[in-house]
Symmetry: C2
Subunit: 228 residues, 2 copies
């Protein structure tokens, strides 16, 4: 369970001050299936970074399972991020000098999982995103944009994290590939994983159970999905 209390995030670049989050209050319960929508620049990625413990608020509090995140050591934070959170970045963040196998297995390497088991789980994760074994020896730049996106998703789910945070996971995918990805998120959620998807695509949002609308750094509403 994640609790955000009056979270604000201010970025300063020289003269330019940007208020990315203006007091966000949010509770996400274990096993929820949530999407976050809102205009470009409204703070969605910043919000997801807060929930995913990738960044700290300028003010306000983030609690994970009741623990104040600002009081956790960086070691504890790294442990939670590796074990409990699978993050799909908006810009993929694949490691260009690693091949696809090495990219996807990374969370498992960090945990000390032996090679044979890693390969088995990488193939499983790749299958779940509609990927192909032929991608494994390639480097990220040797894949198409949508293939890279699916590799990023595979990396996020390979460790079976408690919570999956996906920042625009289908922006580079055709309708059919997007469907495969969303069906995987839905199945993982049914199996108990908390799933939060930032998306611009109403069809994706409508597959989740609740849609938060972010506008100019605040949550302005929570909508029911339209299942038509």
């Amino acid at each position: 369970i994640i609790r955000l209390v009056d979270v604000r995030k201010v970025y300063r670049v020289g003269e330019v001050k940007t208020i990315a989050l203006r007091g966000v209050n949010l509770v996400v319960y274990r096993g929820e299936y949530i999407s976050i929508m809102g205009p470009s620049g409204s703070g969605k990625s910043t919000l997801l970074n807060m929930i995913g413990l990738l960044d700290r608020p300028t003010s306000g509090k983030v609690y994970i399972d009741g623990r104040d995140v600002s009081k956790l050591s960086s070691k504890e934070l790294a442990h939670i991020r590796n074990r409990e959170i699978g993050f799909v970045f908006q810009t993929f963040n694949l490691i260009s000098r690693f091949n696809i196998l090495e990219n996807i297995e990374l969370p498992l390497v960090v945990r000390g999982i032996p090679r044979k088991k890693r390969i088995k789980r990488v193939l499983e994760a790749l299958r779940m995103v509609g990927g192909d074994e032929s991608w494994l020896p390639k480097k990220p730049t040797q894949l198409s944009g949508g293939q890279q996106q699916r590799v990023a998703i595979a990396r996020a789910i390979v460790g079976e994290p408690e919570m999956i945070l996906a920042d625009e996971p289908t922006g580079n995918l055709d309708r059919a590939s997007a469907k495969v990805v969303v069906e995987t998120f839905t199945r993982l959620n049914k199996e108990g994983q908390t799933v939060i998807i930032v998306t611009h695509d109403p069809e994706v949002a409508n597959c989740t159970d609740k849609i938060y609308i972010l506008r100019d750094g605040v949550i302005v509403g929570a909508e029911e999905p339209n299942r038509d």
Copy 2:
């Protein structure tokens, strides 16, 4: 006018051979407004790179205004690319150590256009994509994904190129921002620029005059847009 004759593109990565294009025949006339759709991995970016003279076919011919591209010197190619083609990359390809002003003005710097004029045209291009002056001193990583995408588009149009090639220009944009971008492409096309958009979004494709469908490296159809 661009003519592709039996264009094939084969990538080899160690053992893995990928046929990205299997004999594409295509003619694009000056002033056309075209979109290209197809599954992830079907060869759309590879095709756009051929049209944009960013890559050479493994076999087959590309003619630009009747001239065989394989016979052009790299100097002539660079000249055409800078003067006549504006390219929006699927992964933006913004220069991370340049600020946004420096990123957008780059095609104009290459042409030797004086500073005052450059700034004027950068502001114009930024406005046309729904961007904001406050972005100019920032670095790309200090912008949201959709803001970076719009900067990439601004850079492609700032030089008023004869042909705009946009590889998934709205994947990171909410509906309203996407609308602004597509309306700009439509206006530029009305003013005479050839516009080719690769997109997964039917709403974007339906704003163009012709939709080519690419599947597994070949063009399998050309559809009329559905204006409803």
